[in-house]
Symmetry: C2
Subunit: 404 residues, 2 copies
């Protein structure tokens, strides 16, 4: 009997081990896929490691360490907190940290000088009172949209520095030394961060935004064509949606990443084809227009997959014109995406838009001339609604291409 228990326990342990191994292997595969999809992520990890090691070398180097004293830890902290995936993010945090530390430090020095002069009784009251007021005001200012977008991190650091300096209770002459040391260590940290971030395989937020926009536009073009082809395909393609016509779903949810990238891209120095004051705000406008398109495609797609379908003969009548219109549409989008990709003006885009408008008029004419047998014909109609939006979108794309 005991042998049986031991055997069962052993079997249980083995089963657990196998399950654990499977779970670990699955997790490892997932992690490997994340790295393989975008090797820059793994490189980013190595870059952070390198920057930290560099900063720890500064720490070990006696002359530098003696120069800045125990404050060398601020360099380490700066590197950990400031290092971001994109160059824009790094710049944003570095700039915010430097400016906020300097301004809050100066202000705190002033306040503690005043508190110092006003006697022992008033000193803690002045210090705590100013801390309360400043922290409340600064925290509230984070709800102002502009501050939130550009200086959110700076405000945190401002409060942090001010409270550390105001509370620490040193004399002003000691504080001056401390402030100078801390500023220089933070400067070392920021410089190492920026150097590693920019020199080794940099990831530019502007470029990411650019590629995202181009990719989304191409996906939209493929989806428009794929959808209409699905609809007029011989068999009802309800079950298997072609992967082509699913691309618009990324476009629907891209607002948050677009906004943050446009926000960070503003901090980046000129690089490659992205000059000074590159119109990043235009990308968000183009993105909004593309989302507008994607909403329409969503409606169109629900028609394709709907249970109630138009009768076959009606479909056959309009199939030709609709397919032509869809291909014109997707041509316009492709032209626009390639003109955005190449950052050139829209040379052939105008022609493509004109062709598309011709196709729209053709479809409208055909619809009017149709024998009035059709009672249910949603897909064509939705395509019709989609048209004005496509033109709106292409107009916006023109604008953006021109400003580039």
């Amino acid at each position: 009997h005991e042998a049986g228990v031991a055997e069962r326990a052993w079997a249980w342990v083995v089963a657990c081990m196998i399950a654990l191994r499977a779970a670990v292997a699955g997790f490892a595969r997932k992690v490997w896929k994340i790295g393989a999809d975008d090797p820059r992520r793994a490189v980013h990890g190595l870059k952070v490691g390198l920057a930290l090691t560099l900063v720890s070398v500064v720490y070990y180097t006696r002359p530098v360490y003696d120069g800045v004293g125990g404050n060398a830890m601020w360099a380490v902290m700066t590197v950990v907190v400031v290092f971001e995936y994109t160059v824009g993010g790094c710049m944003y945090k570095g700039f915010n940290r430097a400016v906020a530390t300097a301004s809050a430090g100066l202000l705190a020095l002033g306040v503690s000088w005043v508190a110092d002069k006003s006697g022992d009784k008033l000193e803690p009251i002045i210090l705590s009172g100013s801390l309360f007021l400043l922290a409340a005001a600064a925290t509230f200012s984070r709800f102002i949209p502009t501050v939130k977008a550009r200086f959110d991190y700076g405000v945190t650091i401002f409060i942090l520095t001010f409270s550390l300096v105001a509370v620490s209770g040193y004399r002003v002459d000691q504080l001056l030394d401390l402030a100078q040391q801390r500023m220089s260590t933070i400067a070392i940290g920021i410089i190492i961060c920026l150097a590693v971030c920019v020199v080794i395989w940099p990831v530019w937020a502007g470029q990411e935004l650019h590629l995202l926009t181009v990719r989304n536009m191409e996906k939209l073009a493929a989806t428009v064509e794929g959808c209409v082809e699905d609809y007029f395909a011989a068999k009802p393609a309800q079950a298997q949606a072609s992967p082509k016509s699913e691309g618009y779903k990324c476009v629907l949810n891209s607002k948050a990443s677009e906004d943050s990238q446009a926000n960070l891209a503003r901090w980046e120095p000129p690089h490659g084809r992205f000059g000074f004051r590159h119109p990043y705000a235009q990308y968000t406008k183009v993105g909004a227009a593309m989302r507008h398109c994607a909403y329409c495609i969503e409606a169109l797609n629900s028609c394709v997959r709907a249970e109630v379908q138009a009768p076959e003969h009606v479909k056959r009548l309009l199939g030709d014109v609709c397919t032509r219109l869809a291909s014109q549409c997707s041509r316009v989008l492709k032209e626009a995406s390639s003109s955005v990709a190449a950052m050139t003006g829209p040379k052939t885009l105008d022609f493509a838009v004109a062709d598309m408008n011709t196709a729209v008029h053709e479809l409208q004419g055909d619809l009017r001339a149709l024998p009035p047998v059709l009672a249910l014909e949603p897909a064509e109609m939705s395509l019709m609604d989609a048209m004005p939006l496509f033109t709106v979108a292409s107009l916006l794309i023109e604008i953006s291409a021109r400003t580039e």
Copy 2:
């Protein structure tokens, strides 16, 4: 001549002053509006000020200060960094900070003990090497979606603590003292944060999410009705869109805030009607369904505002049925929103859905029976497409209401 110059300079200064005053007044009005729209924001500012003042009192209290030494500044830092607008955010950061500091500290103690034992030559190599590897691995782990969503802040703190302890170059026995002091100061900071955050007018992320969902559902209901009314109104309402029918635009862009709130809400303790393991994930599903609806309404809206309109007599024929259907639709949405608001099961919702389906069949019948004069009739068609989606949405809402 000179008097003229002085006069012009004076006029210029006065003009500048007036412009400056106007700008300041405008900014002040904007800031005031932000506070007045949601007084909890101003209260949040005051709460941060209060927490910081409390922590600075700890700093001034000699017994506590002497107990933890210069490490009291970690309490200040913790309060500044951990204090968030919602209770969930505060919990998330506090938990992450505490766990990450403890685990990284222990690991760093172990590594520096090993380095200590392996001789002077190997020591910096072991320390720098482990720092490089750990920082790279931890940074890369932030790209894993689960880690990103729940432990992003913790990973930062983990790297920070590990590098500070590993680099600082103290002996292990000193480090133990240091670690204990630092843990206790961080604990003080987190406790003060949570106390102020929960006790004084708390903002619960779960409740915010709940209200957002209910509000969005009501907006959708109003929009469906408003849109169809606009369409069948006597005058073409192209110029002035009723404000009622613009509400769906918030729904389109609410994904990011919904996701983050659902994420933070998971950290909150049970409070009020929100029990333990409240199904916050259901809210994001309902949100996705609502966005699906909003896409349809977007298409519908573009029909209402389109240049090509159906002829008046066709509109009159269908106006009645469509308006009825729209009101049924918005009734379903209103029922759903009130059942979500009250967190009760869908008692009357089923009836409302059944009524809506009857109205759909009615409209379909009317469309079939129509004299086949109509060539262009987009709006009704879009409404037709919208129907299956509305039912999908209401089904999802039912599911969520049942789990609640």
